[in-house]
């Protein structure tokens, strides 16, 4: 095993080009477990820890460009206003120690369906900034997940950052685990209201081979909110609408039975979380609308 320690991003890209099998190492919270337990012996470890700008973020007018290695703790503490869904998801990641090391780049690189960041990234409509010596490209999050633990990266590419639209409305994230902390998702659900475009987006974790959006649920809700003029009126959500949304979200799942939970439970739980997160976000939206009108 070789340990590659690029000092700069360009060096990292060069190393990855030279050794496409090199496994990028940032927080280490996935890779080191596999090494400690003898599940993986990559020929090269590519340590990205010296590239400090991977741990930085820039807040632009419409998006936040989040460095791939910004630890979840910083997201929770500093980006709650801009990226509320991701900040909530970050808070559910593993333990404080893991949140101090792990970042979104690792979640995307591993592309496990159970990664906590995915539902929030899907719901916000993020784009992944991937780069190789051949150049840079933006991969829409909807095209990023390609299979169980497979993603759209080419072998010579590294994730440099994620561009996440700043929230224009309330966002929520909810995750079921069989423990009250430090738990891998049995399933998870992310929801973002986008009042600017009068749309909603969703993300489902751990309930399909890849993280997925509940497209039918989104379309239903977008249309229903529009039809009833609820964006404008800020009126209460009819319970039947929330129920239907939950059922459609459950229908978007394609889960399996495993040690963490049954397929049927995952489907059911996603439905419950979809209904609840819709309730929370909509109440929050109504609150904002009311205070905006008062002001």
């Amino acid at each position: 095993m070789d340990f590659l320690r690029p000092a700069t991003w360009d060096e990292a890209l060069a190393a990855k080009a030279e050794h496409p099998s090199a496994v990028p190492l940032a927080g280490g919270t996935d890779v080191m477990v596999e090494i400690n337990f003898d599940h993986r012996r990559p020929a090269y470890l590519l340590d990205l820890g010296r590239i400090r700008d991977l741990e930085e973020w820039e807040t632009g007018e419409r998006t936040v460009r989040l460095g791939a290695s910004v630890p979840y703790t910083r997201i929770m503490e500093n980006l709650r206003a801009e990226l509320p869904g991701l900040a909530l998801a970050a808070h559910t990641v593993a333990s404080p120690q893991i949140r101090n090391r792990g970042g979104v780049g690792g979640n995307l690189g591993t592309a496990s369906p159970a990664g906590d960041a995915h539902p929030a990234l899907l719901a916000s409509g993020a784009e992944v900034e991937a780069e190789s010596v051949r150049g840079r490209r933006m991969i829409p999050i909807d095209d990023f997940y390609r299979g169980v633990k497979r993603n759209a990266l080419e072998p010579d590419e590294l994730i440099r950052a994620v561009h996440i639209p700043k929230a224009t409305g309330p966002q929520q994230f909810s995750k079921v685990g069989t423990r009250n902390a430090m738990v891998i998702a049995v399933c998870a659900f992310g929801l973002a209201l986008h009042p600017d475009t009068r749309t909603v987006r969703t993300g489902i974790g751990s309930a399909a081979p890849t993280p997925v959006r509940a497209t039918a649920a989104e379309e239903f809700l977008t249309a229903a909110l529009d039809e009833a003029g609820l964006w404008e009126s800020g009126g209460p959500l009819p319970p039947s609408l929330a129920r239907e949304f939950g059922q459609l979200a459950a229908g978007a799942c394609n889960p399996i039975d495993d040690v963490r939970g049954s397929a049927a439970y995952r489907r059911h739980a996603v439905g419950v979380m979809a209904r609840r997160t819709l309730g929370w976000t909509w109440e929050s939206y109504r609150g904002q609308e009311r205070s905006a009108q008062c002001a």
Partner: protein
């Protein structure tokens, strides 16, 4: 490969490190600092928690090479670290030889606690006094995490303590006495003299 790390204030060098070795392994097996514990080696128990450039992390999930040139504080250096923080002077940790040799282990004798010669961080003393130590395997990691919590939050609520320590498993105590210990350390810091009357 060779790895240079500053551990408990003292520059350390380890040679012939296998590239897949964790910081935990290097601390325990190469630098003579077995205080950080090897309970799960998968980031699910917190017993290997150290400060890496000030940040609490699971040292089992930091590749040794990633710690190159960085500052690490382990439980062995916690008392000095706390003392330095308290502004009462500065002392470097003094790691000895590797691990514990059998002669030392054989000579170990339980004596009345706590030795007045041992200089402990307030959180260490509180763990002893509150009965928060049983088998003690989780203790080093908990101490590093709890000390960092109290550094950030002088008067944590119970929920704050629980959240901050939710990455540290303990199998012996049922956590009640650990909560007591952190409350005690916080209370003593808030009223350093009130305690004397106990």
């Amino acid at each position: 490969m060779r790895v240079n790390i500053t551990v408990n204030g003292r520059p350390q060098q380890a040679d012939d490190v296998w590239e897949g070795e964790s910081l935990l392994y290097v601390l325990r097996e190469r630098l003579g600092l077995p205080g950080s514990k090897n309970a799960c080696e998968q980031g699910e128990c917190g017993s290997c928690t150290v400060r890496l450039d000030g940040v609490p992390v699971c040292s089992c999930l930091v590749a040794a090479g990633q710690a190159e040139g960085r500052e690490v504080v382990t439980v062995e250096g916690l008392a000095d670290f706390a003392e330095e923080r308290a502004g009462r002077g500065c002392a470097a940790g003094a790691p000895g030889a590797c691990g514990t040799d059998p002669d030392t282990a054989r000579r170990w004798q339980a004596r009345p606690a706590p030795g007045s010669d041992a200089q402990l961080a307030p959180v260490q003393q509180a763990f002893i006094d509150a009965g928060a130590v049983q088998c003690g395997f989780c203790t080093p990691g908990l101490l590093v995490a709890a000390d960092e919590l109290l550094e950030r939050t002088a008067e944590p609520s119970d929920a704050d303590i629980r959240e901050a320590l939710s990455g540290n498993l303990c199998r012996c105590t049922g956590y009640e006495k650990i909560l007591d210990a952190v409350r005690l350390a916080a209370a003593r810091a808030a009223a350093p003299t009130a305690e004397q009357g106990a």
